[in-house]
């Protein structure tokens, strides 16, 4: 694990920041960004609503949240990879370039892969099935870097090595890869262009602990080189290991934006949903948040979490604004007494005694 104090240091002069935003300006700035889907029947599906967020060079923000809350859509929207029925609003500035309104050629020629890289979720589905990993990797190296022809092969192998993709699997086709191998292939592909902004959508699924650490450390190294990383993840341990800040998303909105150390350590999360999320970890309560995930097309008028929230009051009928890093009418006070718990790091340690899941109180 890298020393946290190092992280606040300005980006190294050779870092990619000087290619993009001016000094001091954030690398990525989302301003009231929204995405919704037009459905053939029924209402719009608002997948992302009014997200405002900044990401500095040399910073890693972990985006966590319930499945289906809009994390992947947010990442896709930034690269203009949404399906045709999507509509966006607000702004997302990468340096001086506004991403949501940028035209396709601009995105294709200058942004994707070069200024913003994406590690997609479901990597296996995102590889072209009829070509080997090597050919796809070599192709990306050729297109994004100016490696001379005869060095392409070596460069591709180096890129694979960086993501811990075994060299002897390079000549395989995507359908011949295990889940973890496909994940590593996707990571390797995204890192080739050395983009200042990295959007990693669940980069650690399907990897065993050692590989998670290797991947996370590699990503962290990128961040320390001055790249900005938006890491979408369910793996809170990995998030703790890498993130500077944590953004918690619920039903399309950011409900909490906190410093990673405070979020995972003391005082812990302040939004009731975030607290529920941490409590659901197997090493903690392993209890799910009660209730069903919200239906995006039919959200309650006020706070979307209110129906599942034990603290909900009448005040929750209005949408809470994100103030002081939390969007809740009754946030847990900072430095509130959260029950003592194991640090997440222990998950990687030796197994403790087997425990029965406490499933009796699920609902």
């Amino acid at each position: 694990m890298t020393d946290r104090t190092e992280r606040t240091e300005p980006a190294s002069p050779t870092g990619p920041t000087d290619r993009g935003a001016g000094t001091g300006a954030p690398l990525l700035a989302l301003d009231r960004m929204s995405v919704r889907f037009r459905m053939p029947r029924g209402p719009y599906v608002p997948a992302v609503t009014d997200v405002s967020l900044t990401l500095d060079p040399g910073e890693c923000v972990a985006l966590v949240g319930e499945s289906g809350c809009g994390k992947s859509v947010l990442a896709s929207a930034l690269l203009g990879l949404l399906p045709e029925n999507a509509e966006t609003a607000g702004a997302a500035h990468l340096g001086e370039l506004e991403l949501l309104g940028a035209d396709e050629t601009e995105l294709a020629r200058r942004v994707r892969g070069r200024r913003a890289g994406l590690i997609p979720q479901s990597p296996a589905a995102h590889l072209t099935p009829v070509r080997t990993v090597r050919s796809q990797l070599t192709e990306v190296v050729r297109e994004l870097t100016d490696t001379p022809r005869q060095e392409l092969r070596a460069a591709a192998e180096a890129a694979a090595e960086r993501a811990a993709f075994p060299a002897d699997h390079l000549d395989r086709y995507p359908h011949e890869l295990s889940g973890g191998l496909a994940q590593r292939a996707a990571t390797a592909l995204a890192l080739v262009g050395g983009p200042p902004l990295l959007l990693a959508d669940e980069p650690t699924t399907g990897l065993d602990r050692d590989l998670v650490e290797r991947t996370v450390d590699e990503l962290r190294r990128q961040v320390d080189d001055g790249h900005g990383l938006l890491m979408i993840t369910h793996d809170l341990a990995a998030a703790e290991r890498i993130a500077d800040r944590v953004a918690v998303m619920y039903a399309g909105r950011i409900v909490e934006l906190a410093d990673a150390a405070a979020f995972f350590g003391a005082p812990g999360p302040r939004h009731p949903y975030a607290r529920g999320l941490l409590d659901a970890l197997p090493e903690r309560g392993f209890t799910p948040i009660p209730g069903l995930p919200p239906e995006l097309g039919a959200l309650p008028p006020g706070c979307a979490f209110a129906p599942r929230c034990t603290y909900a009051t009448a005040a929750c009928a209005a949408v809470p604004a994100l103030t002081a890093g939390v969007a809740c009418h009754h946030p847990a006070p900072a430095a509130d007494a959260v029950p003592p718990r194991q640090p997440l790091k222990q998950r990687t340690g030796e197994p403790g005694p087997p425990q029965q899941p406490e499933s009796a109180d699920v609902r």
Binding site: A29, D31, S34, R36, F37, R38, M39, P40, P43, Y44, G80, L82, P83, E84, N85, A86, E87, T88, A89, G90, A91, H93, E98, L100, G101, D103, E104, H175
Partner: protein, 311 residues
Amino acid sequence: MADPVEKTQTAARTGAETAGPDDADTTRWRTRGTGRRSVRTLRVRTSAAVVALAVLAVLVVPPLVQLDQQAVDLADKLSAPSLAHPFGTDDVGRDVLLRCVYGLRVSLLVGVVAALVATVVGTAVGALAGAVGGHVDRAVMRLVDVFASVPHLLLGIFIVALFQPGVWPVVASVGLTHWVSTCRIVRAEVLSLRGRPFVDAAVSGGASRTRVAVRHLVPGVLPQAGLAAVLMVPHAIWHESALSFLGLGLPPHQASLGAMVQGARGALLAGDWWPTLFPGLFIIIPTLAVAGLAGAWRERLNPRRRSELTL
């Protein structure tokens, strides 16, 4: 961050911003879709209208209009389009419009039925071979080779010759020879789909071979099969006229568009364009309409484009 001014500029630049119909607030929504939805809808509607019109013409005109499409009027041969003969007359003085309608009837029958036969047989055999695989696949495909090996026109000639000249032998000769390509296309696609994990899931869910084929594999190849079917319609029409070219086509009282176009070549060289042009349009326009409808249908099948389509 972005001030309102800049926002409007962005709006002007992309030009695709729309205010959502159902949101009260002032949020400006932009879409990356090219906004071609209305054009597409219009096209689908036009296609549907053309097809409906064609079918109506075919069903209604012949019984209602008691004119003899064979009526020869040598005195009035090759007269240019006029009020009396909106599409002019052919080289024995028959009314081209009337014959176009009758011809459409025969040609659509030949085209559509032959295409259906070819597509259904081809899809069934191809799906069977692809889904079962192994020895069955090999045996079936060699049988298909046998069928493919006799040139279509030759087989067509024999089939037509074995029977009285008429529509059905022609339909049979086209339908029974052309399923082979559909079959191979379907089989190849099925082979590629067969190994996908979702087929594993179906197998594990207790699906029989037939069910896997019918529910998971065939829907996956329907776009291809549908394209083959649509292409087969004009192809069948020309096949019929090729048989006429070789002297094995339909009898003259069954005007067919292909034969009309083919028969009017001499007139075309002499500068009389109408006996060629109108039947030609009668082939092409309905074909394009059918293609338009099939395209819409295929987009509907396409799991990723469904939300874009409104009829």
